[in-house]
Amino acid sequence: MSENSSSGLYEELRAMVGLSGNPRVARDPVNVPTTRNWCDAMSEANPNFTDSDMAATGPHGGLVAPPATLNVWTMSGLTMGQQPPRDMAEPSAVVYSKLDAAGYSSVVATNSDQVYHRYLRPGDLITSVTTLVDVSEEKTTALGVGYFVTTEAAFTDQHGESVGSLFFRVLKFKPGTGRTRESKPDPKRDALIEAGLDPDEFFPPEPRPARPRPQWNEDQAWHWEGLRERELRIQRFTDDGTLVHPPANANPNTQSMDYDYVVASGRGTLYSYTVPQYPQVPAFDYPLVVGLVELEEGVRVVSNIIDVPADQLEIGMPLEVCYIDTHDDVTLHQFRPATAPRNETTLCAADVAVGDRLPLCPIPLDHRLIISTALATRDFQDVHHDVAAAKAKGSKDIFMNILTTSGLCNRWVGDWAGPDAMFSKLEVGLGAPNYPGDTMTLSGAVTAVADDGTITVGFKGANSLGNHVTGSVEIVLPDRSAAIGEGS
């Protein structure tokens, strides 16, 4: 490829900026079955979306669709396993095709800003018109060399009334041109690669050392056996019920040596913590968080605190136990943020202040979540459900689509704010992909409270690779008099 051809491509693409496509009418009206699938996949339980009796008494006077479904309804379908052909009347489709032809065949969404003018109701027939608003110069990114393509879509209902808009940006990039992780230069391995040989066969990678192995004797064996069975057992002296950890041989109060154990509920709070950074021991992933957890039974245990970005650690935060197998015969307890229950009564604007933190929300990522949410958002791009196709396009596995990220962010904010919070805007920018096997933890805080009751929440969702998403959401909360009127 010469300089000329790529600069020619850029000019060709730029020439289309400002053009709009034909109106695209949704295949089906907004409907409850599709909404229900979406809610199931997202773990969205707001009754205003699926429970017609509850919704009838809510602020919408009936069922509505989750606001993050704004652009779900006009998405293309999937026919007999084939992606539908691109509508070449769409300037963005033309741009994508030209980029495909030039080798920029991979695509990731990087930004989605949804503005909600009103909530969609079952029966609404949505039409979208998409305008190409920008094509960037060629950029070198972590994923590869490519172009950012930005579109803006306007959504209207069957009466031609505006219901919302979507500002959307994707990166179209050449697979295999991304920055691979820096590794130490190794001439021996390089020589083998040059000779067409697999260096791993000659120098097998050293297995990762195991964590320091816990040791025990008959005085504590019951504790470690419990962990194997996913039980966190706490010593109880049977004479007066005293709980002791770490275990002792005799009751510190009575010297009785008769004890059994209780199985901890697994709920606790963070009492203290440290974030070890040096020295780094190969058995552990850093940054590592080691906490002192006060169990609700009253004793404390040392544990790793997982699925919490270090800057979100807070003494007193609720935690729940989980487990990790570290050796053939050793299981350790771990603690992660406790899932906050969904708020069934909606917050009032007066309850909220700038700086209020939302409960941390770790979301374990697996193939089922990524595939089911992709399909529930009617996004049939193969990179979200087909591992081989995703790998062929330069990804290590399938990854979460942006409509799901948007849906999960709204679900989490709604679970905190309550079912009657009215969403007006959601802006998300994507970074590190959400791959199966990882965990994304959403964290955020109120960044603005406007006089009209509009609350802005700034948030991020971090996984092991970094921030998957950063963004903000605007919601309107009822004022207190309205809430009192409802009798809540």
Binding site: N217, T274, Q277, Y278, V290, N304
Partner: protein
């Protein structure tokens, strides 16, 4: 009052140079330090008949005795738990000479904890056995809590949360130590003071602990010679009278990981040492002109002032503010530079500095010194002592 109070003294101090690479064996360092302490006192080393050491000391008293020309030892003891021992080995010596089981007792500590092994590198490779002490690490090591800095950091976070102390408050301890070290030619960080900004810019070792909150890893040896006041009169130096010395283990004590007590912002074993010392000597905080406050990690310096009653609980950060613990302040501490500035010799070099303050020979001499407080390791079973000019 303990029976040995004011009846014994530290009469000789001796040290090697403090470095990151001594270039010789720990046994050589121990021998040199012990000979220097005897020479300082003006005592023929063969007269020594007692040895009091740390259980973590690898240079056994029998080998050191051979090197010193000591034919017979009538007293030899060991104190457990590392940095908690420096005042306790002196207490052992004082009790031994006062009771008459020995005449002259050497207490020493010598190691290459930088060039031979890194003292702060962690217990991940620890010996595995079903013995209780080895088992005790199972509650922390599998989670990656492996180093003294990490163990201490857990206390520091809670202390900050409870009392509003900040990283800057910890940094003020480091600044004081390094200011004092800057005047001390024997200090590793001689002529290298730091600012609070340097402290804040230093990297996290185990959050909230920064690099400059942590003591050094050092090579070196330090020895102390203890005898009775009667014998002290025959020797070279003005005796540093041992007003009293005490040890302490408190309820639900663990080795640097006493995380299971109702409150973990205090150091109750240090409070026990404080109560004994004040009661035994009749002295109080206002009688102390300068102190060696154990400073392996700065966060645990603050609650020591609280345990000794220099200030109220949680007010350590206020007590150390405005240069109060620096030369010219109300209670200059660690005038040798402490373990952050001079060297980390498990607290033994801090006892030697207290001796110099009593003699009036410190490079950062405090005016009108009568009583000097010394504390040992915090977080471990610990000890403390008061040296005085007065019998």
């Amino acid at each position: 009052m303990a029976k040995f109070d004011r009846k014994t003294a530290i009469v000789g101090i001796g040290a090697t140079e403090f470095s990151k690479n001594s270039g010789r064996t720990p046994m050589q360092l121990a021998t040199e330090a012990c000979l220097a302490a005897c020479s300082d006192a003006g005592l023929d080393s063969s007269k020594v008949d007692g040895m009091s050491v740390f259980s973590s000391e690898k240079n056994t008293e029998i080998e050191v005795a051979r090197n010193l020309g000591i034919g017979e030892l009538t007293f030899f003891s060991m104190i457990n738990h590392g940095g908690g021992a420096p005042c306790a080995v002196v207490q052992q010596a004082a009790m031994a000479v006062h009771s008459g089981v020995a005449d002259y007792v050497l207490a020493y500590r010598a190691f290459n904890e930088r060039s031979w092994n890194r003292f702060g590198s962690g217990v991940q490779g620890r010996h595995q056995s079903p013995e209780a002490f080895d088992v005790s690490f199972s509650w922390t090591s599998p989670f990656g809590l492996l180093t003294p800095a990490q163990w201490v950091a857990m206390f520091a976070t809670r202390y900050m949360h409870a009392y509003g102390a900040t990283s800057e408050d910890f940094g003020r301890v480091a600044v004081a130590d390094r200011r004092h070290a800057a005047n001390n030619p024997a200090a590793f960080f001689y002529e290298k003071p730091i600012t609070l900004e340097d402290h804040q810019n230093s990297r996290f070792i185990s959050e909230p602990l920064r690099l400059l909150d942590c003591c050094q890893e050092s090579d070196g040896g330090q020895a102390l010679l203890i005898t009775t006041m009667d014998r002290a009169a025959e020797l070279n130096q003005k005796p540093a009278v041992i007003a009293s010395a005490a040890q302490g283990v408190a309820e639900d004590q663990h080795m640097m990981r006493s995380y299971y007590r109702d409150d973990i912002t205090g150091i109750p074993e240090m409070g026990l040492v404080a109560r004994q010392l004040w009661k035994s000597t009749g002295l109080g905080p206002s009688d102390i002109q300068t102190a060696t406050i154990y400073d392996h990690f700065t966060p645990l310096v603050l609650p020591q002032f609280e345990e000794f009653g220099f200030c109220e609980r949680g007010e350590g950060k206020d007590f150390i503010a405005d240069g109060n613990i620096e030369i010219g302040g109300a209670l200059p501490i660690n005038t040798n530079g402490g373990q952050l500035g001079e060297a980390y010799i498990h607290g033994m070099n801090g006892v030697a500095e207290a001796v110099r303050q009593v003699r009036g020979t410190s490079v950062n001499q405090v005016d009108h010194v009568t009583n000097v407080l010394v504390t040992a390791g915090s977080g471990v079973p610990t000890s403390g002592l008061i040296l005085t000019t007065e019998t």
